[in-house]
């Protein structure tokens, strides 16, 4: 009986969750007037190979700027990160069936899902590259968002701060 149960359990478990807690997300809102960019190296992300379900969870205060004052302003005046500490993406890799996790190589992937920043959710579709190396996937990709879509207000947006910053993702999964 228990053998049967083991068998059932195995078939149910034939999918794999890949995850990381040290993924990287950069954003770049540079303008000719000011360099406004930051790096977050503590991105928590998970994905399932079979369904293509993927999540990113990002602590806003983990974005590091070169300029401390800019970081303070980012948290306090723009992102209001003590009230809204996290941003996340919940979605699917729509063409996950094209990725062979057993074969090293580069696979173009499409993402479809909901991006929540500053407490505001927006649908996002973008694409990136999945690299399989030694059975471990890594995702790179970039896309632009409109600051105004996420209810973020403050001085200098569109002047010293680019109105449509670029977000660059670089996550290696285990």
């Amino acid at each position: 009986m228990s053998f049967l149960l083991v068998g059932v359990a195995f078939t149910l478990c034939a999918q794999k969750i890949y995850s990381t807690k040290i993924g990287q997300i950069k954003f770049n809102a540079n303008t000719p007037l000011e360099n406004v960019s930051a790096v977050n190296n503590q991105v928590d992300s998970k994905m399932i190979d079979k369904t293509g379900q993927i999540v990113f969870s990002v602590l806003i205060k983990s974005f590091k700027f070169e300029n401390q004052l800019m970081e303070d302003h980012f948290n306090e005046n723009y992102m209001e990160s003590s009230a809204m500490p996290k941003a996340d993406f919940k979605g699917y890799i729509t063409n996950i069936s094209k990725v062979n996790f057993l074969k090293d190589g580069l696979y173009p992937v499409n993402f479809d899902g909901t991006l929540t920043i500053h407490g505001v959710s927006q649908k996002v579709s973008t694409n990136g590259i999945m690299k399989i190396e030694g059975g471990k996937p890594a995702i790179t990709g970039s896309f632009k968002i409109k600051i105004k879509d996420y209810g973020i207000t403050g001085l200098y947006i569109g002047e010293k701060i680019a109105a449509e910053p670029e977000i660059v993702i670089n996550c290696k999964y285990e």
Partner: protein, 309 residues
């Protein structure tokens, strides 16, 4: 005694659940029903409890008006500070209510590490040089192992270089030195309000007569009240427990205005001196009769050392 209520589920169901749990709860495998969205939400909740988060921006810059705040200059950041006090308002229309006169301090602050800041400055009042270090002992935080207060230690040395009165005895270089030791205790109450207390000891190497104490004690208080995203009301009061005759407690009220890379402060204060020993223990102006100065501090930060994250 009331018996414990036992589960009425079939024992085989429990067995299946255990087996599934064994095979599916490992870090790399998961059951077919696993929803990452839920999984992540649960993990976020757990992480939030585990994570210790340091409270930042208790004050907006490293000074409140005259005195040190709990804040440090960021690591690798050079902060150029220009502090300016006009004359006393009660000097009347002839001096254009103080605007004809000025004392100032030019200073450089630098963040050596996340905890240590060093700085130096020159004040026109009594032609004084000052050097200080400020070290974060504790940082206010929330989450696991949270800390209710931020605590920093500041130590300042001041050298007076103005020519003193001629004395019948010989004076040494060290006679012109005085030292200020301060412990800053600060707390941020939400985003809108912060408060700090600053027990202070000022030591003068030399005073005019033996009846005057070399060590003076005082307690400073300071607050910040957020008026809008970029404007904060600030205030500062140093109560002197022991003091020189003819001096008053320094009291100041002002506004912090954040403009990108700068924090611009303007305020009214009864202190003429700008470094620690002169404003805490040598303030002769009185609020009561209009002996206050209009003043401003300009701060501009430069990134000196770029660090990689």
């Amino acid at each position: 005694m009331k018996p414990y209520k036992l589960s009425k589920r079939h024992p085989l169901g429990g067995c299946l659940a255990i087996l599934l749990a064994i095979f599916c709860s490992g870090p790399f495998t998961a059951g077919a029903q696993v929803d990452l969205f839920k999984l992540q939400a649960e993990q976020d909740k757990k992480d939030a409890k585990q994570k210790k988060e340091i409270t930042t921006s208790i004050f907006k810059t490293t000074r409140i008006v005259n005195g040190q705040s709990i804040e440090n200059t960021g690591r690798g950041i050079l902060d150029v500070k220009i502090s300016h006090r006009f004359g006393e308002v009660n000097t009347g229309g002839y001096n254009f209510f103080g605007l004809d006169q000025a004392t100032f301090r030019i200073g450089l602050d630098y963040g050596v590490s996340d905890r240590l800041e060093i700085g130096a400055g020159r004040s026109s009042y009594n032609k004084e040089f000052d050097e200080f270090f400020k070290f974060r002992l504790l940082r206010q935080s929330t989450g696991k192992g949270s800390m209710p207060l931020s605590v920093s230690l500041v130590s300042t040395a001041v050298e007076r270089t103005i020519n003193g009165p001629t004395t019948p005895y010989t004076t040494n270089y060290t006679d012109n030195l005085n030292f200020v030791n301060q412990l800053i205790l600060a707390r941020k109450f939400g985003d809108d309000f912060s408060l700090q207390f600053v027990p202070t000891m000022v030591h003068y190497n030399s005073v005019q007569t033996t009846s005057i104490p070399n060590d003076l004690y005082s307690v400073g208080t300071g607050f910040r009240l957020r008026l809008s995203k970029r404007v904060n009301l600030t205030g500062e009061y140093y109560y002197q427990v022991t003091q020189f005759r003819g001096t008053y407690n320094a009291a100041s009220i002002g506004l912090d205005i954040e403009t990108g890379g700068h924090v611009f402060q303007f305020f009214f204060t009864n202190a003429t001196g700008i470094n620690e020993s002169s404003f805490i223990t040598q303030t002769t102006g009185q609020w009561g009769n209009g002996g206050v100065h209009f003043g401003f501090n300009i701060s501009r930060v430069f990134t000196v050392v770029k660090h990689k994250y």
